[in-house]
C-alpha cells in the first residue's frame, strides 16, 4: 500500500451522497486525532478544515458516500486520476447505502415518482435513477464497511497504511461473535429475524447485544447464502415475502447477495413489483410485520 516514506502521506477525506457519519469517525479518534499528523498530512477535509486542496494530488483518499448524480460520477473519475490509494469508507461508498433503494423505483413510478414525492419543483432536481458504490465507477484499493464505519477498524487501516502493510479486518460472520460472547440467539430464542449468519462482523455483534436482530450494516460476508437464510425466515419465523424483503432491504441492500433475495421476493417495501395478476399499488400490499 502507500509506502514507508518518512514524509507524511498527503491525505484527503471527501464525500458524495451520505450523512457525514463516517467522516465523523476521524473526528471521533479522540486523542489519536491530534497524533495523526505524524504520518498523515490532511490536505483536504471540508468538514474539518478551511485549508482546502480539493484537487490533490493525494497519496491516500478516503471516500464517503455513493454516486447518485452525473456530476458525482464525473468527479470520482477525476479524483481517481489524482489519487494513489483510494479507500471507500462506509456502507454508502462500499455498497450504495440506504439511498440505493431508489434503484427499485421502477416498480412504482420510476425515479420521477420519487422526485414528485419529495419536491415541489421536479425540474430542478438533478439525480441519477441509481445510487451506486464507488467501485462501480473507479478502481478501489481498500474498503472500510459499516453504517457507520467502526472507529477501531479505521485506526487499524490508518496504522496499516502508514507502514505499508495490509490491514487486518474481520471477515467472519456476526454469528461467530455472538457465539464467542456467549449470547442467547435472538432468532432461535425469540423468533426475531436476524441477518447475523450472512453479515460481516465489524460491530462486535452490536444489535444482538442490544437484544435485537442484525440489520446488515457491514454487508454480506464472502460466500453468504442469503437465499438459505431467507428460506429460514419464511419457514421457521413464518415471514411472508414482503416481510423477508423488508428485512433484507436495509443499509447494504444493493450488495449483490442481498439484492438477489430482495428481487426474488418482489422488492423493498413501498417499491414492490405489482403481482402478475393484479394491478393494486404494491406499496399497499398486505405483509406481515418485520
Amino acid at each position: 500500500m502507500a509506502g514507508n516514506s518518512t514524509k507524511p502521506l498527503r491525505v484527503g477525506v471527501v464525500k458524495f451522497a451520505s450523512c457525514d457519519g463516517c467522516q465523523l469517525g476521524f473526528l471521533d479518534l479522540g486523542p489519536a486525532l491530534l497524533e495523526i499528523g505524524v504520518k498523515y498530512h490532511i490536505i483536504e477535509f471540508g468538514e474539518a478544515s478551511s485549508n482546502r486542496t480539493p484537487d490533490g494530488p493525494f497519496d491516500v483518499l478516503f471516500v464517503e458516500g455513493s454516486i447518485s448524480t452525473d456530476e458525482q460520477a464525473r468527479h470520482i473519475r477525476r479524483m481517481r486520476d489524482r489519487t494513489g490509494v483510494l479507500v471507500t469508507i462506509g456502507a454508502c461508498a462500499t455498497s450504495g447505502g440506504i439511498q440505493a433503494l431508489r434503484a427499485w423505483a421502477g416498480n412504482d413510478g420510476g425515479i420521477a415518482g420519487f422526485i414528485d414525492a419529495v419536491y415541489a419543483m421536479p425540474e430542478y432536481i438533478d439525480t441519477l435513477a441509481t445510487a451506486t458504490p464507488v467501485a462501480d465507477h473507479v478502481d478501489v484499493d481498500a474498503e472500510l464497511r459499516g453504517c457507520p464505519i467502526d472507529t477501531r477498524q479505521l485506526v487499524e487501516l490508518l496504522t496499516a497504511t502508514a507502514i505499508g502493510r495490509r490491514p487486518q479486518l474481520s471477515s467472519e460472520a456476526v454469528c461467530v461473535e455472538c457465539k464467542r460472547a456467549g449470547r442467547v440467539c435472538v432468532m432461535v430464542a425469540r423468533g426475531e429475524p436476524c441477518l447475523g449468519p450472512i453479515i460481516s462482523n465489524g460491530c462486535d455483534a452490536l444489535c444482538p447485544g442490544m437484544a435485537r436482530g442484525c440489520y446488515g450494516c457491514f454487508g454480506p460476508r464472502e460466500s453468504a447464502n442469503g437465499d438459505s437464510l431467507a428460506g429460514w425466515f419464511a419457514d421457521s419465523l413464518d415471514l411472508d415475502d414482503a416481510a423477508v424483503a423488508a428485512t433484507f432491504a436495509g443499509f447494504t441492500a444493493w450488495s449483490p447477495e442481498l439484492r438477489a433475495v430482495i428481487d426474488a421476493r418482489g422488492g423493498p417495501p413501498g417499491m414492490r413489483a405489482a403481482p402478475a395478476s393484479g394491478s393494486g399499488k404494491a406499496a399497499n400490499s398486505k405483509g406481515g410485520a418485520a
Binding site: D20, R52, T53, S68, R102, M210, G250, G270, A283
Partner: protein, 442 residues
C-alpha cells in the same frame, strides 16, 4: 498549500460577487454567494449541492421500528434527533405511555447527543474562526489544552449515546415504546465521574467563549423554539415564537409551511404568514431559558446575559456552551435518580392516522409527520430539518451582515460571511430536501 475555496468571479465592474464555492467546517456540502452593486447588497444566497437522497419516499411502506433505523441515516451528527422525533410521533398516535424512568432515559440519550454535537461545533468547527485558524488541528498546535477539553466533552456525549444506543453514530437502542435494552444503575453511575468533569469543563467553555471578541452585528430577530413551563424544552411543551405563535409540537404544519422560493432551490420554511424565524441554541436560551439549570443560568448571566445572545448571531457559541452546562447537569440528576424500569419497553398496537411531533435537535426544531395505515405502515412522510427552517433567516442575516465587510478584499469578505453562516451550525446533510442550485446571474 493553497486556499482554493474562495472564488472571486469576473463580473461587470460596478458589481462585486463574494462567493464561497464549497463551505468548510459545516456538515454537508453548500455554497454561498452575495452580489453587491455599489454599496447595496442585491442578492444573498445560501445554496446546497448535497445530492438528494429521498428519505421521505424511502420510508413509505415501512413499519415504525424500521422507520426509526432509517431516518437516523439522514444525519451522522444528530441521528438521535431523528430517531427521537419519529419515535415520539408514533407513540403519540398509538397512545403509548412510557414508564417514568424510560422517559428520563430518553432525555439522557438526547442530552448525550447535544453534548457531542455542541462540543464538536464549538471546539472543532467554530472556535477556529474566532482564533484565526483553518481547523482545530491547526489550533491544537498553539492551544492544545483547549482542543483536548473539547475532545473530552465530546467523548462524554459519545459515551452516553453508546451506553443507551450501542454506538454514537446511528445508534440501535431506541424503539417505539421505550428501548430494546436499558442499562443497570451501575452502568449509568459509571458515567458520573466523567460527567462531573464535563460539567466543570462546560462552565469553563462559557468563560472562554464569552471572552472571545464577537464581530459587531446586531439585529432584532423573530425566534422559534419549544417551550415547557417545567423543563428546558427538549421533546415536550409547545412550539412558540417571539410574536405569539403557540401550537402543539405535532401541529407544526398548521402554523408553518415550506415554500419553493424562486432563486433558491431549497424548500424554505416560514410561518404561514411568511415570517422568517431563527431557531437553535440562541432562540432556545431566549425563549425557554426559564427552564435552564441554575448553573446554566448563572453562566448565562456571567457571560453577559441573554440580550447579547438574542441580538448577535456570533454569540451562539455562548448559547451552545450554556446548553452544555444544562445537558451535563440534568444528565447527572437523571442518573442519580434512576431506577431500572420493570420492562425496557411497553407493547403497542398500531392505528391509522397522523404520527407527528417536533423536538429540539441540537440545531433547532425538527418536525416529522408520518401518515400511517391501520397496520402502522407509512403511507406518506414529511421531514422538516432545522437547517431548512433556518435557511431563509440565514440569507437575511447574510444580507444584513454583508454591508460591514464590503471594504475588505473579496477573499477576506467571503471568509467572514462563511464564518457568519457557521454560527448557525448548518447541517446540510440533514437537509432532506434541499435542492441542487443552478446559480442565476442577474
Amino acid at each position: 498549500m493553497t486556499r482554493k475555496k474562495v472564488a472571486v468571479e469576473a463580473t461587470i465592474p460596478e458589481q462585486r460577487v463574494f462567493a464561497v464555492d464549497s463551505m468548510s467546517r459545516v456538515e454537508g456540502e453548500g455554497r454561498l454567494r452575495v452580489v453587491v452593486k455599489g454599496d447595496e447588497v442585491v442578492e444573498a444566497e445560501l445554496s446546497i449541492f448535497e445530492a438528494p437522497r429521498f428519505f421521505e419516499r424511502l420510508v413509505v411502506g415501512r413499519h415504525p421500528d424500521q422507520v426509526i433505523d432509517m431516518v437516523a441515516r439522514i444525519c451522522g451528527i444528530c441521528p438521535v434527533a431523528y430517531q427521537m422525533t419519529a419515535t415520539e410521533g408514533f407513540e403519540r398516535l398509538f397512545g403509548v405511555e412510557l414508564d417514568a424512568n424510560v422517559r428520563q432515559l430518553r432525555r439522557l440519550f438526547y442530552w448525550g447527543e447535544w453534548l457531542q454535537s455542541h462540543a464538536l461545533h464549538i471546539y472543532l468547527l467554530h472556535a477556529p474562526d474566532f482564533l484565526g485558524y483553518d481547523s482545530a488541528l491547526d489550533m491544537a498546535r498553539d492551544h492544545r489544552s483547549i482542543v483536548e477539553r473539547g475532545l473530552a466533552l465530546k467523548q462524554v456525549g459519545v459515551d452516553i449515546m453508546a451506553l443507551l444506543g450501542g454506538r454514537a453514530v446511528h445508534p440501535v437502542g431506541m424503539r417505539v415504546g421505550g428501548f430494546y435494552r436499558v442499562p443497570t444503575r451501575g452502568q449509568l453511575r459509571a458515567l458520573l465521574p466523567a460527567l462531573e468533569v464535563a460539567l466543570e469543563d462546560s462552565k469553563e467553555t462559557v468563560r472562554w467563549t464569552s471572552s472571545l471578541e464577537l464581530p459587531e452585528f446586531e439585529r432584532d430577530p423573530l425566534m422559534l423554539s419549544l417551550y415547557d413551563a417545567e423543563l428546558y424544552a427538549l421533546d415536550t411543551g409547545r412550539l412558540v415564537t417571539t410574536e405569539g405563535i403557540d401550537v402543539d409540537p405535532g401541529d407544526w404544519d398548521e402554523a408553518f409551511s415550506e415554500q419553493h422560493v424562486e432563486h433558491s432551490t431549497a424548500l424554505q420554511a416560514t410561518s404561514i404568514d411568511g415570517k422568517r424565524h431563527l431557531l437553535g441554541p440562541s432562540s432556545r436560551v431566549v425563549l425557554s431559558g426559564q427552564g435552564l439549570h441554575p448553573l446554566a443560568k448563572e453562566a448565562l448571566e456571567a457571560s453577559g446575559g441573554v440580550e447579547i445572545i438574542r441580538r448577535n448571531m456570533f454569540a451562539s457559541i455562548n448559547a451552545r456552551g450554556i446548553e452544555m452546562i444544562h445537558a451535563a447537569a440534568e444528565a447527572i440528576a437523571i442518573i442519580e435518580a434512576y431506577e431500572p424500569p420493570a420492562d425496557p419497553f411497553v407493547s403497542w398496537e398500531p392505528r391509522a392516522g397522523k404520527a407527528s411531533w417536533a423536538t429540539e435537535a441540537p440545531r433547532g426544531v425538527l418536525f416529522h409527520r408520518y401518515d400511517v395505515d391501520d397496520e402502522g405502515r407509512v403511507v406518506k412522510a414529511r421531514i422538516v430539518p432545522p437547517t431548512s427552517q433556518n435557511q431563509a433567516f440565514m440569507e437575511d442575516d447574510m444580507r444584513g451582515f454583508a454591508g460591514s465587510v464590503l471594504d475588505l478584499p473579496e477573499p477576506e469578505a467571503a471568509a467572514r460571511l462563511e464564518a457568519l453562516i457557521r454560527c448557525y451550525d448548518p447541517c446540510i446533510s440533514c437537509a432532506t430536501h434541499f435542492l441542487r442550485l443552478e446559480v442565476e446571474r442577474i
